[in-house]
Amino acid sequence: MKILGKRVIDKDFKEIFTSEFFSVTGGLLAGIFLLVLVNKLELIPGLFILLPGFLEMHGNIFGSLAARLGALLHTKHIKPKFEHNKILYINIFSSILLLIIVSLFLGVFSYILNKVLFGNDNPILILIAIIAAFIALVIELPLTIFTTFWFFKNGYDPDDIMGPYITTIGDIVSIFSLLIVMLVVI
């Protein structure tokens, strides 16, 4: 397809469009779950403060991991298969370490903001942030690595696809992991 004499629909455009369409559809699904969750979220005061950061953390950490893996694949520092590779291990371990620190940060500051601004002393927020982050980590880390490799091996550019994919899966997995923890806690 041409607009103003320029070809606009190329392989990258199709990849961005497809991945984004998948992403927003997944986002709508997350929206429906959020609608269902609204009443449950109210049972733990302060969880609304934690929610955006918790959802975003997974996109940030695993989006960066996928982008780094994409750059490493493009520059041929790693191969698109899970094998003994020091650079791959470094990237995995770094992501786990970052997730632990950031989830702790989110939990502690959600608790402090909730206590200072709304007068709710609810330290369980810290526990929820850490346990839910671990549940999501177990699902998302292998998904991120294997799908990045799979897309690259099959001729797709992970840079175009993984961002939307990770944030969508991250949202859905995060809401579910929060639900699991809340069912245990409440």
């Binding site: 929206g31 955006p52 950061g53 975003e56 500051f109 944030t167």
Partner: protein, 183 residues
């Protein structure tokens, strides 16, 4: 991306900064909670809208970073930047319209009654939020990417958390502002 220390050093500051911004977004969310519960399509559309704008930040940053590493781009006027914009903006506009319409239909099936003015308002809110923030995120990704790369840091590690956090904070901010004006 070749040592834990390097990744940690590049990432931790921006991740904590991003998380702090998200906590502010969380406070906004708590404040607009009642509006969102009344107009059901708005709460359905919120995660998709947030995701979409953050996604474009990730796409633009990671594509631009790869181009930087491959030495295909060195300034903001490069044809790669224009090409990327031409790819991203039409997809953003289409997706904004799509999520608005689908969210309204889903809400309708859950008993939410609406008329044409509500339909137009929801589409307007989504479109204005999307276009303004995609423009902003695009600018941050490109200008920030050039700056961070010149500082010998990895733009993927630094800019992805920043763009997604700014997108989260501003999308909830712009969204709630438009909701308060139009509803």
């Amino acid at each position: 991306m070749f040592s834990i220390k390097e990744i940690f050093k590049d990432s931790i500051g921006v991740l904590l900064f991003a998380s702090a911004l998200s906590l502010i977004a969380g406070l906004f969310l708590r404040n607009v909670e009642n509006d969102l519960i009344i107009v059901l399509p708005l709460i359905i559309v919120l995660p998709a809208l947030n995701d979409m704008i953050g996604d474009f930040g990730i796409i633009v940053t990671s594509r631009f970073t790869t181009a930087l590493y491959e030495k295909k781009v060195n300034n903001i006027h490069s044809h790669i930047v224009k090409h990327l914009f031409g790819e991203v903006m039409p997809v953003a506009i289409f997706c904004a319209a799509y999520i608005s319409v689908v969210a309204i239909l889903i809400a309708h099936f859950r008993g939410f009654s609406f008329d044409s003015s509500i339909l137009i308002k929801i589409i307007l809110i989504t479109l204005i939020t999307t276009i303004s923030l995609v423009l902003f995120v695009f600018l941050v990704s490109i200008v920030g990417g050039l700056y961070v790369y010149k500082k010998k840091m990895d733009p993927d590690d630094v800019l992805i958390p920043i763009t997604t956090s700014i997108a989260d904070l501003l999308s909830i901010g712009v969204f709630s502002l438009l909701v308060s004006i139009l509803f």
